[in-house]
């Protein structure tokens, strides 16, 4: 078994990539701005008398969920950029030939890369989400809705995108593959919006389009689950559900859909990569 060699190699390579450095810098800058924003926002909130009970918790929670929403977005983009040329891009460059001639199965190359990118995203999400929760907790003194399952679901959404990108990369060049994966990702986002509007307008067609898009690419639905986990209950929950999540979060079945989705994407990636000529 050599999959772990490929996985750690992939992680090491990812850590040296410009896109990772860029994401790290961007996120660091973002966290600084975010901290400043939370600090001022919280101070104003403290100085505003009145308001319904639980307003403070609601706003703090909203800031946290909104912050994590943007981290989730950065993580998704990073996941796609890292993995979009992982197979065919390396074949085009010729860097994979010597490796593939070693006693390594092609499935180990595909799955090793998947694990490597997943580890990379786990580090990214783990560090940045922890810092964000820490920032909010230190500034506001409240830990509102912080839950472990949130970051894990964010990671799951990134894994779905890595799986898709690897499946495409088994045959397609990086550019067309990137276009397709981002299009699917956007479809899921727009589908989520259509689903929400359909819900409000009580339009079954719009609602079903949204559900269908979630089954096609469950990234958005998984985020909705994450935001539901993160949102505090009661009034606080009502507040934060609006802009960054669905008003009624997907059922637990969505996890099964996501797991199936990942299995199919990786299965396709392996089979298709096994059959191609180098």
């Amino acid at each position: 078994m050599s999959a772990h060699l490929i996985a750690f190699f992939t992680l090491r390579e990812a850590l040296r990539r410009r896109v990772v450095l860029a994401a790290a810098l961007l996120t660091f800058g973002y966290l600084v701005l975010y901290g400043v924003g939370v600090w001022f926002g919280y101070r104003d909130l403290q100085n505003t008398p009145g308001g319904p009970p639980g307003l403070t918790e609601g706003v703090v929670n909203l800031m946290l969920v909104g912050g994590l929403w943007s981290l989730n977005f950065i993580a998704s983009v990073l996941a796609v950029f890292l993995s979009v040329g992982a197979l065919s891009g390396e074949l085009d460059q010729g860097t994979l030939h010597a490796v593939a001639a070693r006693p390594v199965r092609r499935s180990e190359i595909v799955l090793g890369k998947f694990v490597g990118f997943t580890l990379m995203l786990a580090v990214f999400i783990g560090v940045s989400a922890s810092l964000m929760i820490l920032i909010v907790a230190v500034i506001t003194g409240e830990v509102v809705g912080a839950s472990w399952s949130g970051p894990f679901l964010m990671l799951l959404a990134s894994m779905l995108l890595i799986g898709l990108a690897l499946a495409g990369s088994s045959r397609l060049s990086p550019l067309p593959n990137g276009v397709i994966v981002f299009t699917l990702y956007a479809t899921a986002l727009i589908g989520g919006v259509i689903e929400q509007i359909g819900d409000v307008l009580e339009s079954a067609v719009m609602f079903n389009i949204g559900v269908f898009s979630s089954v096609l690419v469950p990234t958005r639905a998984i985020w909705d689950m994450a935001s539901a986990q993160l949102a505090a209950g009661g009034f606080a929950g009502e507040l934060s559900a609006g802009p960054f999540g669905a008003s009624n979060p997907p059922s637990g079945w969505m996890l099964l859909v996501a797991a199936l989705h990942l299995a199919i994407a990786l299965g396709f990636a392996v089979r298709s990569f096994e059959r191609r000529d180098f």
Partner: protein
Amino acid sequence: MSDPIAIGLAGVSKRYASTLAVDDVTLSVAHGEIFGFLGPNGAGKSTIVKMILGLTYPTAGQIEVLGQPAGSLKARVDVGYLPETFRFHDWLTASELLHFHARLARVDADLRADRVRELLELVGLKDRADDRLSTFSKGMMQRVGLAQSLVGAPRLVILDEPTSALDPIGRRDVRDRIRELGEQGVTVFLNSHLLSEVEQVCDRVAIIDHGAIVAEGKLDELLSAQEIEIRAGEGAEAAARQALGDAEVRALNGRLRVRVANDEETAILVQRIVEAGVSVYDVRQVGDSLEDLFVRVAERGDV
């Protein structure tokens, strides 16, 4: 190891959408042999090598490597490969690249460091061991690629145009390395479009053109072999057959076509026919000699 064949191809073809890159190739390479695979660019050499390694799949035929089907993990443990492109992950240092490949090739942990050091010294990159590959010239990259192909202590080494980026001294070094491998009993499969490159090191060669093998054998024998046409009286064919055996002689439009190994054989053949009491009217060389074929099919290098 009872199987004397290191590489065996039987009726192997490879068709890409519109091109027949490899056309019904049958070939075998013995253990310990230094085998040259010679042909012009686009002849199908790299495609055959990639099929031997299991990187590309044949559309017809069977390939066996070290007693295993091509591409099986068991065979790959003992095979080293220098790809034609010699591109490696250039964010690694030379030493890191070799360590990575040593692990992939399942070299014992306690042997790796020594092996890597020895090989970098062997290819003249000892001083650059800890430099990033991104700072390497093409020639250095090809040399680190050669070291990479040897890092698993392979029984079979497959080199695809291993000197394309090297200067004459670098080429000589590679030839020396190949000879050393031969002395150690390692089988070497050397792809090249340069006659000079294979003629100096190879025990046996095959020439490939347009996907098909056009000649195969020991190089000096191939070089001097030629086909002659003889116009002679009644009984010439029988006399020629007696002198050379059936396989070499064909009757064509009342003339004889004979494949001879060299000029000396032509002289002896004519003498035998005359001794048999048959008149010889005309003897001439027809078609290409293999040397002509080489020149047409492959380039003469300038080393």
